[in-house]
Amino acid sequence: MYDIFYVGSEDDNWINLKNKYPNSLIVDPNTDIYQLKKKSFTKMFWVIWNDVVLTDNFNLNEYRATKWDEHFVHIFKNTEYYDGICLIPKNITISDQEFKTRCFQDKKEINIIVSSPTIYDKFCIESYDDYLKALDNTTTEMFWALWPEIEITDESVFDVYFSHHDKYNRSENHAWQHKFRKDEVTFGGLHLMCKNKPVSKKEIDFRFLINKKEHNEIVSKHRIYDIVFISYDEPNADANYKILQQRFPKAKRIHGVKGIHQAHIDAAKLCDTEMFWVVDGDSELLPSFDFSHAVNRYDLDLVHIYQSINPINGLVYGYGGVKLLPTKLTIDMNINAADMTTSISSKIKVMKEISNITAYNTDPFNTWKSAFRECAKLASKVIDRQKDDETDERLQTWLSKGHNKKFGEYAIRGARAGMEFVLSNKSDISLINNFDWLKEQFEIHEKH
């Protein structure tokens, strides 16, 4: 039976070892070979490093070195590499360099797996503070940085281990390929961070390390942002939500919240992704639209608006289109602005892709109301960065096309009423977000 020294702190590995071998002693990780030799009372002694886990089927107390091997360091297999547990003769000369690097001159490699490497710690890191905490708290010399926006597609990557002899890789930060978008692969996904090579705040914020070793295996993909279906009283809302849920079962729903701004704020509060998708209650999603778009870190303050098809007048633009919104900015939005999307952020990106048909022509009131609201906005040119010519052209189309379509007359009359409302009473545009008032207006207009 040889002395057993555990090189490390009082962690779980130590507790397990102590339970199995009550005679084992713990020594500080900075202890050198000379101090260790002094502490040992047996002609050889075991050194158990804190970055290995002992296998159950090997008994340290039963192992005896043969007489002719007693002058060699015995180094045992650590799953794959000979860099794990050592049995060291007390009376041979070993430099501290050999001891620390586990690269011994006079050694015997024992082809018995007696340990496996400790799996690197994993930390979910969203901000630089999280990263600093991980640096402080990690018990392994490298640790996995898991950004909340990524989803691991190949769990076997966590088996990665760099041998103790591989100083280069152990001193480097590593990045694996990440499926960012459909046809775009980046290195902004899974990272294995070296505790001794800290990175800057900007690198963490942008998920982009300036210096890193790149690995070409794709092991992660961008997580789909939360999807929220927002409905109020649209007759087709339940059916549309059901269809959405069939394709995206995790899609959430906000229903019946008064005020379009408040509904979106409530929707944002349901989400735990930094951006979130909004699907309106009257949206019939196109089968080609799959919510797979991911946003670059520097675009996280952008409102993305997708194109939608108007079933009455055939217009294709952002009206009623699916939106991708910054979650925090939505929660903090100015609720007094008439146009909700432009009040979330000053940065708007109109996407080329068509996401849906805005099936607002479900009954007379909903058709009239939708046309009223949109044409009031168009006529008042309240939408930030709108172009006069384009806006006028759209307004003319709303006012003139679609008589023969389902509830088309209501759409045209609603459009005209919305435009006239703005021309006569520009100062109170915010009323278009008050659905009770809109109901009253509908009744007044349509009675005549």
């Binding site: 800057s200 705040k201 900007k202 690198e203 914020d205 982009f208 300036i210 670059n296 870190r297 520097y298």
Partner: protein, 295 residues
């Protein structure tokens, strides 16, 4: 302080290679911000300061491609008197390595308060920044300056240096005293600008620009302060730069003769082969110097 901690602002005006160079910068540091199309160096730098959220910020000129090793730098910033740090840029036409086109780290407060170029209150700040003692240059190259994406870009770069390199602290000197009065480093740079480049794309425009800048500043009544105005330079280019290559070379040679008589500057015409040879020898000499002096 780690360089990476500072905001990075890319400054472009009308450079034809700006988009390409900005994309290159963003591939190295995706958080690089950009100021575009602001007239006047002083105003553009103030806009950059406004954009930056850190107390210090790095500027990258639009004609620059940055060496990623720059972002590994850890800077000793303990001297509170220093307000601007700058690194050398390497000119890809003539091989010169100095502050022109180099990367700079600015104190935001300093930039907000400075009055230079179009906002200058003193004569010596009218055509360049006026750093005085609060300036530290590192004789290390961390970027390449691609000033030759178009003939006009190359000419303008040469012309501006042709003007600036003949000034003493931003002020004109008597023509007969030019070689005596102007710092020899600047005469050396002027020599390189005025002779080397025929081997590179649009390089002869840079040579012509340098010679015309020197000539107009020191041998005519032209107001050298106009060098800071890119619109005026655009008009000047249309007026004084010939369109055919043979005329261009003749003009370069003629200006060489004039500058020799008027200012004592002896700039030979180096054709493409001679230019390439001189360029290579220059780079080799710099590299050799670094092995001797460990710079």
């Amino acid at each position: 302080m780690k360089i990476l901690e500072f905001d990075i602002v890319f400054l472009s005006y009308d450079e034809p290679n700006a988009e390409q160079n900005y994309a290159d910068l963003c591939s190295k540091v995706p958080w690089a911000q950009r100021i575009h199309g602001i007239k006047g160096s002083d105003a553009a730098h103030k806009a950059a300061a406004e954009l930056a959220e850190t107390d210090w910020f790095i500027t990258v000129d639009a004609d620059n491609i940055v060496n990623p090793k720059f972002f590994d730098l850890d800077l000793d910033m303990s001297n509170s008197k220093i307000k601007v740090y700058d690194w050398c840029g390497r000119n890809i036409i003539n091989g010169l390595c100095y502050g022109n086109g180099g990367l700079k780290l600015w104190s935001k407060e300093f930039v907000q308060e400075m009055q230079t170029h179009e906002n200058a209150q003193t004569e010596n700040a009218q055509v360049d920044f006026c750093w005085e003692s609060g300036y530290k240059n590192f004789p290390v190259v961390y970027s390449n300056s691609y000033i030759n994406a178009s003939a006009y870009q190359a000419w303008r770069a040469g012309f501006r240096e042709g003007v600036k390199m003949t000034l003493l602290d931003g002020v004109k000197v008597p023509p007969q005293d030019l070689i005596k009065c102007v710092w020899w480093h600047n005469i050396h740079r002027l020599r390189q600008w005025s002779t080397v480049g025929a081997h590179a794309q649009n390089g002869i425009y840079a040579i012509l620009g340098a010679r015309q800048g020197t000539y107009m500043t020191n041998c005519t009544d032209w107001n050298h302060v106009d060098v800071r105005d890119f619109e005026l330079l655009g008009n000047l280019y249309k007026e004084i730069v010939p369109t055919s290559e043979s005329e261009l070379i003749d003009l370069i040679k003629d200006l060489g003769d004039t500058l020799k008589v008027e200012l004592g500057l002896d700039w030979p015409w180096l054709d493409s082969a001679h230019s390439k040879y001189t360029f290579d020898l220059y780079e080799e000499t710099l590299a050799l110097g670094r092995t001797y002096y460990n710079v």
